[in-house]
Structure formats: C-alpha cells, structure tokens
Symmetry: C2
Subunit: 346 residues, 2 copies
Amino acid sequence: MNTFADHPHRRFNPLTGEWVLVSPHRAKRPWQGQVEKLPPVAGVAHDPKCNLCTGNLRMNGERNPDYKHTFVFDNDFAALTPDAPSDYRDDDGLMIAEGESGLCRVLCFSPRHDQTLSRMSVEEITYVVDAWIEQFIDLGSKPDIGSVLIFENRGEVMGCSQPHPHGQIWSSRHMPNETAKETDRQLAYFKEKGRAMLLDYVGKELKLGERIIHQNDHFVVLVPYWAIWPFETMVLPKRRIGGFDEFTDDERGSLADALSNIAIRYDNLFETSFPYSMGFHQKPTDGEAHEEWMFHAHFYPPLLRSATVKKFMVGFEMLGSPQRDLTPETAAQRLRDLPTVHYLDR
Amino acid sequence: MNTFADHPHRRFNPLTGEWVLVSPHRAKRPWQGQVEKLPPVAGVAHDPKCNLCTGNLRMNGERNPDYKHTFVFDNDFAALTPDAPSDYRDDDGLMIAEGESGLCRVLCFSPRHDQTLSRMSVEEITYVVDAWIEQFIDLGSKPDIGSVLIFENRGEVMGCSQPHPHGQIWSSRHMPNETAKETDRQLAYFKEKGRAMLLDYVGKELKLGERIIHQNDHFVVLVPYWAIWPFETMVLPKRRIGGFDEFTDDERGSLADALSNIAIRYDNLFETSFPYSMGFHQKPTDGEAHEEWMFHAHFYPPLLRSATVKKFMVGFEMLGSPQRDLTPETAAQRLRDLPTVHYLDR
Ligand SMILES: O=P(O)(O)O[C@H]1O[C@H](CO)[C@@H](O)[C@H](O)[C@H]1O
Ligand SMILES: O=P(O)(O)O[C@H]1O[C@H](CO)[C@@H](O)[C@H](O)[C@H]1O
C-alpha cells in the first residue's frame, strides 16, 4: 500500500473494466498553460433575459410558469426525439448504425437565478430529489425508454451555457456506453458472488475510512479507489437501491443532505463556484428487477490546482488511459478536512 | 442511409466496442456558453525563455543542443518512471492496483519556435516521422516496455502549455485502455475473418468515398464512420503495417504528406491555429507478430463551430455516450472542400 502512495501505478475500475494511471510523484510539475476565467459572481434572483426564470418566454414561444420549487420541460434542442426511425445498418460489422429514439428534458432546481446546489438548503434540494424521482418513474415507465440518465453540467468550463441552476434528463431506448458497461460488470459480479458489487464495495470503504468524505444514515460520499478526475467523488446508498423508484421518504432527505455536503465542500476547496458534471447511474428501465444494480451518483469535477487551473484529459488520456497526479487518498483527505459551512456564509 | 443523415441514431465503433450518439437535427442549437481565447499569433523563431528552443537551459539544468531538425529528451516531469515497484494488490476484485513502469520522452519537431505541423514542409515533417520510427524501435525493444504511445497535444485548449512544436512519447509496461481495447477487437476480427479489421475497413471507405479527405500512394485520411469529435479524422495505411518499425522509405514521406495535408485543412477550416490531440496507435511491443494490428493515427480536435467555440464532452458524454451534432459525412465534406494551401500563405 505504501509504495502506491509515492510511486506510479495503475488502478482498476471494476465498474467499467478500465484502468487509471496514478503518478503521485508528478504533483510538483509547474503549470504555464491555459487558465480558466473565474465564473461570474452570482447575479440577480430573477433575470428577465434568462429562459429558465419564472414567467419568461422560452425560444419556442412558451412561457415558464411561476414555479415555486422545481420546473420540468422538454428540451427545446433535444439530442433525442421520440419519433426517430428505427433503421438498422450493418456493413460486415464495420459500419453499424441504428436509429435511436428518446426524450430530453430540462429540470430547473430553483426559481432563484443565482442559486447552486451548494447554496440551497437541504430542504430545497429535497424538492429536486422529488422531481428526479418523479421523472425517473415517468420516463422509465414508457415502453420505448430503456435508460434514464439524469445529470447536471455546472459552470462554463463544463459547457454549461446557462447559470440558472438546472440539470438535464436524457432518456433513450438503449443504454449508453457507461451504464451498459456498468450493467455488464455488476451482473458478472452478482452471478459470481450473489451480492451487489457496489454494496460490497461500500462496506469495504466504510471499514477502511481513508476515502470517505461524509456519511449519514443512508448515504456515503467517497473518492472511489479508481477515481480519474483529481477530486472525483461518488455518492452511494448504504443498502441496495437500483433506482430512484425504490427510494423511501427518509432516503430522499438523506440524499439531499449528501449532495449538499459535497457541493459545499467543493465550493470551499478553491473558494469558487466549483464546476463539475454530475449524474446518477441507475438500473435499466426495462421492467426487470436488476438485483445486481446499485444506484449511485458520480461527480466529475475538472479543477486540479486552483479555481482557474484544471486537469486536461488530452493526449495520453484520450489515446491511452486517464492519468492523475494526486492519489485518491490525498484528494479524500483534502475534501474531508474542509469546513461544511459555505465560504460565502462564513 | 438517408434517414441517418437527418435523424438521431447511434453508430458502433468496431475498434472499441462503444457507441456514439449522432443528432444531425441539432446543429441549429444556439450557443451562449464559454468561448475560448484565440491562440496567440505565432511569435519569434527563437525564444530565449523557451525550454525547447536550441541552446537553452531546461528545468533540470541540462542545455539543449543546437539541433537542426528534431530533438528528443526524457520528460523532466515524467508520469512514468523506469524504476516503479511492481507491487500488486487485489482486494476481492474491488480494489485492484499494480505498479506501472515506463519512460516518457519529449520530441521537438523543429528548432523553429513558431512552427506547427501545418506550417512545416513535407520534407521537414519527414524528419519527425524518422524520429518517431527511431523512438518506437528504441523504446519498443526494451524488455519492460509493452506499449509505446506517441502523441501531440496542440493548443492551449488541449492543455498544451508550450507553443514550441513538440510531441510526447509515453511508453509503459502495460497497454493503456484504448490500445488494449483495440487489440482485443482487432484480434477477435482477425480470428473470425483471417484479415485485419482496419484493412477491410479502409477498402470499404475507399470504395464509398464519402468520408475520404485525402489519399496518396500509401495513406488515406478519412473521417471514421464512428467519429466522436466534430472534425475527428484517422490516418490509415493502404497495406497492413503493425507499427513504425515496418515502414518502408517511401511510406515515411507518404505519411508526412498525409499529416501535412490534414493539418493544413484543419487550420484552414476556421482560419486559426487548429487545436487537437493526435497520436499513433500501434501493435504492442511484446515481440509478437500481431498480424491483426494495423497502425493508424487518430486526430481528436475539439472545435465545433468556430475558432473559439468547442464541443464540450460533458454530462451525457461523460456519464453516458459521446454525442455529436453534425454527421461524419458532413464533416468529411467540409474538410474535403477546403484548399490545401495554408490560409496564411494565400
Ligand atoms: O505533459 P504536459 O504537456 O504538460 O501535459 C499535458 O499532457 C498530458 C498527457 O496527455 C496530460 O496528462 C496533461 O493533463 C496535459 O496537461
Ligand atoms: O444541452 P447543453 O447544456 O446546451 O449542452 C451541454 O450538455 C450536453 C449534454 O451533456 C452536451 O452534449 C453539450 O456538448 C454541452 O454543451
């Protein structure tokens, strides 16, 4: 174990079957490259030009309602549409394509234009959890939808063109790559051991403690052993839940607490509005039980050294394997040591 | 085929076994998000503060020689080192790690600080090809090196902190993820059909023509059927070559011509110094014949609409599958229609 803290090694991700290269000795590398712009300081509570604020007109001519907590609508520029033809082409296994249908929705987290998950109360976040549950059940029960992917892109550096707090839901006939890999691997583990892979994993991490950042009655926030991004985390339940449809009432509030906790720590890390992509991986919505599947969230934040210096996943990462400098244990330690009061409230 | 030109579908990458979601109808989406800074206009031929220019001191105190064409040295901040301990840990298949050793080198493409592959002559690029061949043979023949990954990160947006034209070579005991997947899949195809997958693929593409951008006696530049990045391309040989060690003299110059051609088209696309990560995928350097393997280059360029608006691979892409708006056929058409004289020389 100790040699891994100081020497190059690779770690295996049992959820995807892929490796990450860890180079702990490399953290002292100087940085002369691109720095990101700092995110604009949070603005007004209501922006008359924002297409997600209450009462405003959207591009398609519809007017947003005067919503109090959350608001869901179909994406005006959806990557997936319900009516896509289901053509199939297979040219000797070399050129394979098939029609893909689905539905894309946008979910506003709050009527307040200047909010983020890190600045919302646990109660306010619980309304968001409620909306996610509702959406997962609604979309997942449609016969043509086999997968519901709920995610949030936060910050301009993560391609988010809209500061109003919101997430997206892309649902599709087929499982996308990442959840398809996770399904295969969780199923193989379940067939071999008769238990859910991630439930065994959470148990091990809780015993070891070194990668745990936060826990409450029902959820654990940790840096996975195989984390790729410098401050990547996962949120995992303590019992086996396959998807949002299996949540108890208590678990709703507990998930909101876990999300609030990690979002505040992230903002506190570099005292900035911390960018990330996050999302929930859940069982396929094909009506099967999927006892192998365990619900979880991934946070993929790009920042490495400061509010303006990110980790670039380029060159070796794109063509070979992801590579990280600080170890997951060091990252967990830094996140764990941070205060859980937001720096703007101190 | 025609419905795929206009409707959402997914395409299969036979080299990796993964899918890309194609949403051709989505190109009209407005963009209000982050714009990139334009790259600095090419500067002086020799920069006294550059650690890659001739005669200058590097961080480790060594002085660069007065090189005429290319120059190779060991990376001063290598992610891989030759002496990494080979420890192994496997905690019930859930926490697996092993020591990883290797060598990282930097290759300067030219003594000229203000050059890029797109501005160098085919003759000058041939010197770079020669150096790649030499490095592949040198590193690949070391007993502890099973994989040699040669790549270039170009532009600040691709994490390149150094404008002096250069690439990197990361060699390691194990194959990284991407080439390991490509090895598995090429081997399975070869076992089934008795031919190299990518040789069959090139043959098909040459017949169809619609994704071809350029070809010469020995190489083809094309947008692969399963391209992820808006203007992603591959460079493929017309005969089966497993790696740089199998190149004939004529093929050296032909590869240089192909690289020059696509690099100039890229710069001309948005009349900017076009950022990308590019690299060569080659057979494992384990001394085996690897008749299944076909040498190729991938270009992964991030720009989507202009010199300052890139495609963000976030949210759905990180947690699900890559998604693209314009079809590979449209991208190929646009690249094919561009002049092959650099815009700064016109
Ligand atoms: O070694 P460089 O050029 O400073 O670093 C760049 O390329 C490396 C290899 O692709 C990446 O791991 C780094 O994230 C990137 O910033
Ligand atoms: O739909 P948005 O937020 O405009 O777009 C953003 O998220 C999408 C889903 O992750 C990505 O495909 C886009 O590249 C990104 O810019």
